[in-house]
Symmetry: C2
Subunit: 354 residues, 2 copies
């Protein structure tokens, strides 16, 4: 059986590496393997200078896989559908502009349910400054969505996963594990309990970090603050591994420094552990990023109300260790007692979980 990254690798070799090579070489600044694809504005405008790059990303959002239409409100589904894909633009530092919606749904959901979906999605679109420019509709027994988002980015100023370098600090925004805690409450049937209602919010209505991403990218006016970035969509252990693999480096993070979600005592007894949720829980849509020493003085503890925490540093890759040792882990986790152990990515992988 293949893991998700093996499947992506196979698709990429089959479809992204061949053909149309002149366009690929000239126009595609960034193809498969980052949060979003980047097309060179200077190529689109036939050599014009100062052209913005175009950033594109797409995500499926499927009933019973990514959401439960009988548990999640149509409004929350609509909001989150657009937010989670637009988070890929945040991770690049791009300015969101437009989106396309491919929507398949059963006839029974074309009335009030569709109204709710549109209301939630329209709220997200207003918040992010996006407009719908196209799409597709079909009938299907379950709700199937795909959202394609587009944004722009000052020529060559996008954040990628591949720029981290030994010595860079590793930072995260917000609190990690909060969205997974909300999901666990739903999966365990505890979501109707009024005591935990507040804990569902990060799962139902994630806040994405567009302004933070733009600030970290230098906004096209100055040198970027971050050397690499991605969003925590799959979980820190998996998302930080993406940065390690793309950048060819390793990471050392400190458990005591990670801004973990607070888990009430009653829920801890059910086996819900703060650190575990923070390391491996998906869908927080925070940013994890690296900052070179030379830029460290520009960092803040809070940016526009969002806390930023340094959780570790980039270290050189151990060549032998990366190939085979200790499960191929790129991350070293140092516990509160100072003891270090490799951290295996256990975040969201659609195909590992089956």
């Amino acid at each position: 059986m293949r893991t998700e990254s093996e499947i992506i690798g196979r698709i990429s070799r089959g479809l992204a590496d061949r053909g149309a090579s002149k366009y690929k070489a000239n126009a595609v600044r960034l193809g498969i393997g980052d949060d979003a694809a980047v097309l060179r504005g200077s190529f689109l405008s036939r050599g014009g200078r100062n052209a913005d790059d175009l950033v594109l990303s797409c995500d499926a959002f499927l009933e019973n896989i990514h959401f439960l239409a009988n548990v999640h409100s149509a409004d929350a589904i609509g909001y989150k559908a657009l937010a989670r894909t637009t988070s890929d633009l945040a991770a690049m530092g791009a300015l969101p502009r437009f989106f396309m919606l491919s929507l398949a749904l059963p006839t029974s959901r074309t009335g009030p349910w569709l109204e709710g979906l549109i209301t939630g999605m329209a709220r997200a679109a207003r918040e992010f400054g996006m407009v719908l420019i196209g799409g597709d509709t079909s009938q299907n027994p379950t709700v199937v969505m795909n959202i394609t988002v587009g944004g722009d980015l000052a020529d060559g100023h996008g954040l990628t996963r591949s720029g981290a370098y030994p010595g860079d600090g590793i930072y995260v925004s917000g609190t990690l594990g909060a969205a997974q805690l909300g999901l666990e409450l739903i999966l365990r049937g505890l979501y109707r309990d009024a005591r935990w209602k507040r804990l569902l919010e990060p799962h139902l209505r994630p806040k994405i970090q567009l302004k933070l991403g733009q600030w970290l990218s230098g906004e096209g006016r100055q040198r970027a603050i971050a050397s690499a970035a991605t969003d925590t969509s799959d979980g820190l252990s998996t998302d930080l591994t993406h940065i390690c693999q793309s950048s060819g480096i390793n990471a050392r993070i400190y458990a005591a420094q990670i801004p973990v979600v607070k888990v009430p005592k009653q829920l801890q007894r059910l086996g819900l552990d703060s650190l575990d949720l923070a390391l491996h829980g998906g869908e927080d849509y925070q940013l994890v990023f690296t900052v070179p020493t030379a830029q460290a003085s520009r960092m803040r503890r809070v940016y526009r109300g969002v806390p930023i925490t340094r959780i570790g540093e980039i270290v050189p890759a151990k060549k032998s260790g990366r190939q085979k040792g200790r499960g191929g882990s790129s991350i070293e986790l140092v516990d509160a007692a100072g003891k270090s152990a490799p951290l295996t990515p256990r975040g969201w992988d659609h195909f590992k979980r089956s």
Copy 2:
């Protein structure tokens, strides 16, 4: 219950008409309601001249709705998935450049089936000159795909559905009804019969009309030949109605002039009628377009091996008739005896059929 066009109208009012209005006014040359969306290259390049426009379109391709994974080969599914969406670029006269693939599939299909899918899709990508630049993968009990395609178009030279004018001739490429005939053989369980194998091809491996679309658009060097165009994805009666509605005109077509698929006698006995298939059968991915009298001399009977047939002409809209009379039909069909009757769109509508 809502029809597909009512659903699209509702989504459009909720998400495309509001917010981000400056971007919409300046950058979006064409939003919802045509074959593809068009973004102004001159805006993307901050006012640069001679910038190509960017054309974007997306389509879902769903197991048990658009294809049957146990009947259609993975290779045919892969080819058709990319071809049918790229046909929207053909209808605009655009040059295909890139695509994004959002793919959800069961674990059981991640082996040889996925290999077949990639092989078919790679063949289409080579043929059309496209490269994969991004995507998304998930696990799902059925195969769910969404393809987003992008292409470019000389500044302002795209073909739309809205430019037809009374007096223009109406033309179609190729043969109509051939893809539907293939689908009917599959739905009736006749697809294993060696006699009909050849008849399945237009359904399994549609030929899309990229070169024809580009030629009709004037290719950015000269005035367009066509005043309006769309592809026959839903069926002539529905697709030509889209042109009528977008252009605010009516159409008169002649049954005897329509290049209908030939149906063998044995299949005619099963109720398969050539004209019916040609008028209402979907997925031919030919072009239906209108040509002003002033450009008629540039038309050909065959373009690069593809036959082109004049099937009628654009006539003024009858205001009262369009509002309520005769089911709101915009098309008048003249039969071989010269008798005329309104033609109701009976092509593919996901929600009407339920």
